[in-house]
Amino acid sequence: MNSFFERRYVILGIFIVIILMLIGRLFYIQIVDDKYLAFAQNNVIRRFIKYPDRGAILDRHGKILVQNEHVYDILVIPKQVHEFDTLEFCRLLQIDKKGFDQRLQKAKIYSNFRPSIFEKQLSARLYNSFQEHLFEFPGFFVQPRSVRTYPDSVAAQFLGYISEVNDKIIEKSNGYYHPGDYIGFSGAEKAYESVLRGQRGVENLLVDSRNVPKGKYLNGRYDTAAVAGERLISSLDLRIQKLGEKLMQNKVGSIVAIEPSTGEILAFVSSPTYDPNELVGRERGNNISAMYKNPYNPLFIRPIQAYYPPGSSFKPLAALIALQEGIITPQTTFFCAGGYQAGSHWVGCTHHHGVTNLSYGIEGSCNTYFCNVFNKVISQPGYPNITASYLNWKNKVNKFGFGIKLDVDLPNEKRGFVPAPAWYNNRYGKNHWRANTIISLAIGQGELLATPLQMANIECTIANRGFYYRPHLIKSIGDKDVIKPEFKEKINVGIDSNYYEPVINGMQAVVERGTAAASRIPGIVMCGKTGTAQNPHGENHSVFVAFAPRDNPKIAIAVVVENAGQGASWAAPIASFIIEKYLKDTISRRPSGINPKKYMEANLLPPLPGSKPKPSYKYLPKDSLKKNQADSNKRNIKSDSGKKTIPKLALNIVNSKRKEDE
């Protein structure tokens, strides 16, 4: 009856073979192959980045310039949304039904299970009223977020702004930044990005197959906390910064004020300016594109990027170099008959100053005096050729931080322009030029171009009688008040300190009885120098540089008001108000009768391009409206300006630099 008894071994054999096959395969995928473990971890572990609060920036007295404000994003998980009172919801959020449907649809398209942003950046006020009703709206929840806020709306160009990272930045950062991150894009936000941003934390969460977080991986063993960014104390003085911005409203120009004893920048005004709050929040996109289109270019950081010929404000520096060279003494005199004959060209002077010594030359801004001085410096014996003697002069000018970068702690600083000898060799032929060929340098014209920061820094050096500290905007970093070492280094400009007094005498006289007499501040000895930067395209630029008080100076300043005419008429009064406000915290009645109100109200904005026929040459746009002032170096010595190669080259420098920086 069991005739096929032995067949059970076949059957059992098949069972064993098949089960062994299963075991073999299991052995392979469970023991031999490691990839499945990695896959499983990729499946469930998600790294979530915790964003720290960005550091705040304060003024020198602890007043807040920029800090964080908490706004609230409303998020929605469409799958969890049940019926609720949409009308009430819309009323609370101040949106309409159509907008509600669109937003919900958008969220659904993104994912039914994962949260997506329903409404961005609710203010705290709107959030409070909404939050009380939140429980009535299943599927919606709130996520706080911090944005930058500027309580006094000042110092926009100094502070800069933050912006979402672009692909280029992400690529360059070696994986530090991810899409959607914010980064300082200009100003201090950019320069101090690495300290402001703080340290990001990481949270490893377990997620399910729908990417919904389900808890911490290994109870947070590998998680790190976010560390808030450092706070920065800037050197700005909010009082004079505000006053400066007010005085400069409806004008194009800059104010830079520096504390000579430290190099700390007290005021950093770039006009026209903008409210930094406009670059935050829902309207950011519209506002920023409007700014880019604005012909007055509020995003241009004039104190460190705009070029102006220093004009007569350069004369004290010219005198100091001549004194150090031993070419003149304070007692050396030249006779001014109303001008200087430079070869076949005539450099006019405003007055017939007669016999003029150093102090009087500065007081009266005597072109004749300084042309003679410059001629003697460049033509002095001991140098094989003009190249060598000019190079000597140029290096001395560079020592003052003029024509080189001052390395201020803001990105995209410009170096100004003091031509190298090669530049003239190239233009006139090797050594085929003389002091008289480039005589306009003597009076701060010609090819010379300086930023307002450089002008202010020269005043610092004079105020200190021979040295300066690198101008900087951030006094200290973090709770421990760390000061960058490079800002504590005294930089000597190579002029003996005893040469300064005669120059300062002249500068004091400028304010006491000279060109800036109307800006004299009662009770404060201010030393200054007016300048009128020649501008062939319109009104001249009004320039004034100064420091005060004469002994133990507390503040050095440079003011440039574009298209405003004489230095004495606009720049000097504005500088005097700021100095007085800084030193006395009040502005007194002036004997001359000038008061800040008139200056605040004046509108000196140049007419917009297009309101009159454009110049035929394209590369010479108008002043700093179009990001450069290179054209202003066409000066009064017409026969000297040759074939227009100067502005073109200077302009190229400006343009190419700008492109690099962007």
Binding site: L12, Q30, Y36, L37, V207
Partner: protein, 420 residues
Amino acid sequence: MNNQRSFFYNVDWFTVVLYLILCIIGWFNIHSAIYDEDHPSIIDLSTNYGKQFLYIVSGVVLATVILLMESRFFSALAPAVYVMVVILLVLVLVIGRNVGGNQAWIPLGGGFRLQPSEFAKFATCLMLARYLSGTNIKVTDTKSFFIAAAIIAFPMVLIILQPDAGSTLVFCSLIFVLYREGISPLFLVITGLIITLFILTLLVNQFYLVAVLVVIAGALIYFFRRNQALIVTVSVGFVICVAMIFSVSFLYHHVLKQHQTVRIDEWLGITTDPRGIGYNVNQSKIAIGSGKLWGKGYLKGTQTKFSFVPEQSTDFIFCTIGEEWGFAGTLSVLIIYLILLFRIVFIAERQRSNFSRIYGYGVASVIFFHVFINVGMTIGLVPVIGIPLPLISYGGSSLWSFTILIFILLKLDSNRMGLV
């Protein structure tokens, strides 16, 4: 007293212990697979693991009832049970509830429902045993063979109409029973050959395949050139094989459903779509593979707990075992099944009655097929065919069906000395 003792006297406790071990392994792994933090208790009846506990308890009751029944009863009632199951299978096509594309369930009220195809398994085994154990019935006879085949095929046809391909295929495993009872080994060889050819046809160009067959047939004919009969056999076999190669394509595209062909394509690596059709198997392999040697620990499997693996408490329960208990766990479970299969074959062979022996082989075949297909599917060895892992997968019908299947055999075995 003596009478009462005899009910459990001869019960094969070894098998009972294996049965209980598998049930408890299943219960704990279901608990882990669908663990709900709000209902952590393994006997919380609002959860499926709580329900599985109920099913196990009722399974034990059911087993006791079977053991208390009269042995002769099963042989006598086999045709009635078979007819009843067939009626249920027809009924389910009419009033059944459609779950997951299969009209396989008859709602019983109270959230419980019955899956007649599960019960068709033991009913068919009983009927087959009853028929083949009849006097003068030899499966080697053509007529008997066809009647036996019809007994197997009838429920298959009804189940494929649901359509539940997985459960249908289970009945193919009964070929082991027929083999043990004496059909030609050629049936096993041919079955193996058909499957191999089917797979090869899908993988290899048909003309290459025919060319290879020509070479093999030529060699065989040359080898058997003295034996006329063998030459004819080889020639006929060759013609059938070639015919089959060319019909596979037709079969594949016109008889099989699309959801079946894509699974086969994915299995054979003809297409790769780990996010779509291959998602289940891919995630299942990740779950099992990530368990390594000792597993991640009870309730600590991330693949199953965070629902990356679908059907994690039913068809893919083996993933949870692999992930949380590692190779140690999967090896143990497979060894337990192998021991169970050996024990069943051992029990079957010690029967004096043909009915009991044939039925025993039916039980072994069905359990073997389930284990092979289910485990093979979770590790990508066989295409995805949705059938449960015996005694471990969640579900009352499946658990009861295997309980009945096993305990009828144990009852028959306990009475092996008596006549049926």
